[in-house]
């Protein structure tokens, strides 16, 4: 995989020292040697190969790159990778194991919550943070929580339904 991360490794940065960062990604300790200007989204995608985190707009508008940073959703294209040193990051790959689906993923499947799928990882991570904090949200609360994530297919109706579906499923699980 090429990109800034590789370019920087091949071209030493002159007087800007390379820094070693260690962070926990999806429960696993990861380390990388990076230049400070590398963005968290690039670290995840290019250094760790976690390409589920999408970079859509690159201008802090779209939310496709949303990951959880110490449990709270942030736009990983708008944070430097060095800032994640010592912190915990969860990406869409961390929602469930490789052969299973998280209820939020099941919800998106069942309720047709994706069309092209580009915004989906960001939508899911915002939804995860919402349901962690508020397991039984109203439709309005779902819309509010997802209002920083844009879907260019404009599939919002089904995205909201998907999250409400997941909430119901997760409540059933915790009740059982």
């Amino acid at each position: 995989m090429s990109g800034l991360y590789e370019e920087i490794r091949e071209q030493p940065a002159g007087d800007v020292p390379i820094r070693r960062v260690s962070l926990t990604v999806n429960g696993e300790k990861r380390t990388a040697d990076i230049e400070p200007r590398l963005l968290l989204a690039h670290l995840l995608r290019q250094a760790f190969g976690l390409t589920g985190t999408h970079t859509g707009c690159d201008t802090t508008n779209c939310g496709a790159c949303t990951v959880l940073y110490d449990g709270r959703p942030i736009k990983s294209c708008t944070m430097l990778a060095v800032q994640a040193d010592g912190h915990e990051v969860t990406t869409v790959e961390g929602l469930a194991g490789p052969s299973e689906l998280h209820p939020i993923q099941e919800g998106f499947k069942d309720e047709h919550g994706l069309q092209c799928g580009f915004c989906t990882p960001g939508m899911m991570m915002s939804a995860k943070a919402l349901l962690d904090e508020n397991p039984d949200p109203t439709e309005d609360e779902v819309r509010w929580a997802l209002s920083g994530n844009l879907c260019r297919c404009t599939g919002y109706q089904n995205i909201v339904k998907s999250v409400l579906w997941a909430a119901k499923k997760m409540q059933g699980q915790s009740a059982g």
Binding site: T60, V82, S147
Partner: protein, 291 residues
């Protein structure tokens, strides 16, 4: 898109941060929430040689009220903390109204109020709110601290009065002498877009009499606009349809909007007039109910 090269330091104390800024000699920039600065770095509108990341500084993530009612917001208090704040909901209606309207929910998890003030974007919400409230910024440098009134702090688009080796450590809202009333309204094309226009109003009331008023406008000029004539026109009497309409007209006159893709100058002025009247009418109705 990615930023041009910079050195990065993450100091562990304010003194260390100030020393780094001094070394930077004007080519260093403080990084707090980064929700405006990182996009600027990526677009290469900003290319500092050194970034001083203050996120690791202890004890700056607070917002609290002193015994006398003064509200203090630390440099690392995030918008989301203010949005969820029970303190603001019960005691500071202008701030409570603005907090959920800043940027979008994801940006609010990271961005800070003090950073927004320093960024001095004419479309920044908090600058209008803190201006209307008569607040100030506490700047810390090698020679100690100084208070800079918000009304003076912003000197132009994206420019403020901070020295290159000063850190804005806190924003302060002075204790109200009367009962605080107020609100914030913003028109945006969609969540997270820059404001087409916004209006912050902060009043202090004694019974039905307005004892202090501040009105500031977002996104309708080259910097945050302090609509002092509109605010002063309200002081000393009760709110009424006449005083409300008069203040709304004066605020619309203070606006200096430009026609752009978000709307015509005339339209933005109309929004300001409407928002001022709307916030004041709501205050009037709730004080009437309380009386």
């Amino acid at each position: 898109m990615y930023p041009s090269r910079f050195r990065y330091e993450a100091p562990r104390s304010i003194d260390e941060a100030i020393a780094l800024l001094q070394q930077g000699g004007g080519e260093a920039k403080v990084l707090a929430g980064g929700q405006s600065l990182v996009p600027l770095l990526k677009l290469r509108f900003a290319a500092p040689e050194l970034l001083v990341d203050i996120n690791g500084l202890p004890g700056l993530d607070y917002h609290r009220a002193d015994a006398d009612g003064t509200i203090r917001i630390g440099a690392l208090c995030r918008h989301a903390d203010l949005e969820r704040s029970a303190l603001l909901k019960s005691r500071q209606p202008t701030m409570a109204a603005a907090a959920p309207l800043v940027a979008d929910p994801i940006v609010r998890n990271r961005g800070t109020l003090v950073g927004s003030l320093c960024h001095a974007d004419p479309q920044g919400d908090w600058a209008s709110v803190v201006t209307a409230l008569g607040g100030y910024v506490v700047a810390q440098g090698a020679n100690g601290r100084r208070n800079i009134p918000m009304a003076d702090f912003i000197t132009g688009p994206f420019e403020n009065l901070l020295g290159y080796d000063e850190v804005a450590v806190e924003a302060v809202i002075p204790a109200p002498k009367g009962t605080p009333a107020g609100g914030y309204l913003k028109l945006e094309r969609r969540v997270g877009d820059f404001a087409t226009a916004g209006t912050a109003i902060a009043l202090e009331m004694s019974g039905r009499t307005v004892t202090r008023a501040g009105i500031a406008l977002t996104g309708v000029g080259g910097a945050t606009i302090n609509a002092t004539d509109a605010a002063q026109s309200l002081v000393g009497g009760p709110l009424s349809a006449d005083t409300i309409n008069n203040a709304a007209d004066l605020a619309a006159r203070a606006a200096q909007p430009r026609t752009d893709h978000r709307g015509s100058a005339e339209y933005k002025r109309h929004i300001v007039r409407t928002f001022v009247a709307r916030i004041l009418s709501r205050i009037d109705q709730s004080t009437e109910r309380a009386a």
